[in-house]
């Protein structure tokens, strides 16, 4: 990857001043806010996330009757503070989501690039592996692997990355198949560029748009995926709070205590929305044809 990085550092045009985009500002500030809150959770959270106060079970948010001022978003069925749990849960959910997407993208993009660019047997082999991964339900695969390796944070991330790279590989391969036929790729080879350099400097940057879009969608998916694994007892183990776990936990109380599932749900929704807006903006910005 160093090839790309060094080339990108060639004195480019001084960045032209562009209109500040609402999507960028909103997406970035929401993400920074959530990320910052997650990082600073020990300082911000009013309570220990695991502290049970059974006398204050299922208290609604502060603005409702029976709400308590010391629990702004209410408490759950064990009397734990929802706000504190969301803050702490963000560390796991965002962290796991981001690292898992990065891992999946690294695996998927490299394999997709190779499959599309080199074609032939390489392509056939990689795509058959993709087919195998598509044929096995990923949750089942994850269950098997986590079961074998034992549930830990690292294993969960590895399993999530290793089961979701397929989307990246397929998208990238399809794009590379058309990009490699374009004349600038032939031109790059005719100027004596090494195949790897052609791939990384000329093909990859042109395939970036769908990668970003898939990555933003996958980040949202990974947060849900992590909660599904947690729900099955294979993910992060309770009492460590995660958004997904809180969501599935709160499901049982939806009829009479809506705040249990709603607030972690909102956190997930906000994150996904912010990531998608940011990805949208990034895609438009990286594509010079849309930059006029």
């Amino acid at each position: 990857m160093s090839v790309v990085a060094s080339d990108a550092a060639i004195p480019l045009a001084a960045p032209s001043r562009r209109r500040v985009s609402f999507r960028a500002v909103f997406g970035l500030s929401v993400l920074l806010l959530l990320g910052g809150a997650a990082v600073l959770a020990p300082q911000l959270a009013p309570w220990e996330p695991g502290k049970q106060m059974l006398l204050k079970r299922l208290r609604p948010p502060v603005w409702q009757a029976r709400g308590l001022r010391e629990h702004p978003l209410g408490t759950d069925h064990l009397g734990r503070d929802i706000l504190s749990r969301i803050l702490y849960g963000g560390r796991i959910s965002l962290g796991v989501g981001l690292t898992a997407v990065t891992l999946a993208a690294l695996i998927g993009v490299s394999l997709g690039l190779c499959a599309g660019f080199f074609g032939g047997r390489t392509d056939a082999f990689i795509m058959r592996v993709v087919d195998v991964f598509l044929a096995i339900p990923y949750i089942l695969l994850a269950m098997g692997v986590v079961f074998a390796l034992g549930p830990s944070l690292l294993n969960v991330i590895l399993v999530m990355g290793a089961t979701r790279w397929v989307q990246f590989a397929r998208i990238v391969r399809a794009d590379v198949l058309s990009i490699r036929e374009r004349e600038f790729v032939a031109g790059a080879r005719a100027r004596g560029n090494r195949p790897l350099r052609v791939l990384l400097r000329h093909v990859l940057p042109n395939a970036l748009t769908p990668i970003i879009v898939v990555a933003t969608l996958e980040l949202a998916f990974m947060i849900i995926y992590e909660s599904a694994l947690s729900f099955l007892g294979l993910g992060v183990q309770p009492p460590t709070p995660t958004w997904g776990w809180m969501l599935s936990d709160g499901r049982n109380y939806l009829a009479n205590a809506w705040w249990l599932a709603t607030f972690p749900g909102l956190a997930i929704m906000l994150t996904v929305l912010a990531v998608n807006l940011l990805g949208d903006w990034l895609r438009d910005t990286l594509d010079p044809r849309l930059k006029v």
Binding site: I10, R182, E183, A186, R191, N193, P205
Partner: protein, 320 residues
């Protein structure tokens, strides 16, 4: 000694429906500082010839015979790494389609600077300055600003100029221009041809110009090779080709051009279509379409003989 010597080049494509003999025994030489035009209709093997010289023939194509010498080195003997060092540095290529032959996600200055860096090294700043200088040399107006433009922000003519700057930045000995003006409108064509001629003379660079446009040939070339069905049928200095063409195919091509003296008459064309390159060849490839065909033409391949000084033709019919 000639800069580039192609001897009996054969490039075949092994397809599912048979072997396509796209280039089947092409020989020519390009001297230093010379512009050779390689002329023929679509599918006659012009582009495959140029890709063979670069050793970039796409699969399932393969050079199956012949020799390609650059100065005194045989390009077909080189390993992949040595060949890679020839590309760009010693032989550069300009493609037909200026819309798609520049990378859309980098500025043109960035692309030229990268080519300079790859071949000459030095600092990024120096490479950037060199890129701006190259754009200036190909007469891009306000090159310092244009260097920061992306390809889509430029007109077709400017893009082709940038393409030429990109190809010439490493200072190649030979430029292969594959239909460099086909996608441009006529006034821009004239400007680009003018630019190519000027740069060629300035640098004493050899040019292999691949085209189907005889007008472009007349503008730019010193010598012309007419290629038909993967073989060269006639080769001569440009004045000789236009003044006294010998091969019936060349004559047919020239008759296809509109001319003021034939005003009001319908444009003529050559009857028939080029042969199927999958079939084994026997005799002259042009025989089925030739108005002067002799029985011998269908049996044995005509010899490539010098009928006039420097004027070679593969046709026994013509008595010059």
């Amino acid at each position: 000694m000639a800069l580039l010597a192609v001897e009996d080049l054969r490039t075949h494509f092994a397809t599912g429906s048979g072997v396509v003999r796209a280039v089947d025994g092409v020989s020519f030489e390009v001297e230093r500082g010379e512009v050779l035009g390689l002329v023929g209709e679509s599918g006659c093997g012009k582009s495959v010839t140029s890709l063979s010289i670069m050793r970039l023939v796409p699969a399932p194509g393969r050079v199956v015979g012949g020799r390609i010498r650059l100065s005194d080195e045989d390009l077909l003997d080189k390993d992949a790494e040595a060949m890679r060092r020839v590309r760009g540095a010693r032989i550069a290529m300009v493609f037909q389609e200026p819309m798609t032959s520049l990378n859309p996600v980098f500025t043109i200055g960035d692309q030229i600077a990268a080519a300079v860096l790859a071949h000459a090294g030095g600092s990024r700043r120096a490479a950037w300055e060199r890129a701006v200088d190259m754009l200036d040399r190909v007469q891009v107006p306000s090159p310092r600003e244009r260097a920061r433009d992306y390809p889509h922000q430029l007109s077709g003519g400017l893009r082709q100029r940038a393409m030429i700057a990109l190809a010439l930045a490493p200072g190649p000995e030979l430029l292969i221009a594959d239909e460099p003006t086909t996608a441009l409108d006529v006034t821009i064509q004239a400007q680009i041809l003018d630019l190519l001629r000027r740069l060629q003379a300035e640098r004493g660079m050899a040019v292999l110009l691949i085209t189907h446009d005889l007008g472009v040939v007349a503008e730019l070339c010193h010598r012309v090779a007419i290629i038909y069905a993967g073989r060269i049928v006639e080769m001569a200095p440009v004045a000789s080709i236009f003044g006294a063409p010998l091969h019936p195919y060349t004559r047919g091509l020239l008759r296809c051009l509109p001319h003021p003296s034939r005003f009001g008459q319908p444009l003529s064309s050559i009857e028939g279509a080029p042969p199927d390159l999958r079939e084994a060849r026997a005799g002259c490839p042009f025989a089925p379409r030739c108005p002067h065909v002799l029985p011998d033409c269908r049996r044995e391949e005509p010899a490539f003989v010098e009928r006039r000084p420097g004027h070679f033709v593969a046709c026994p019919v013509v008595t010059a």
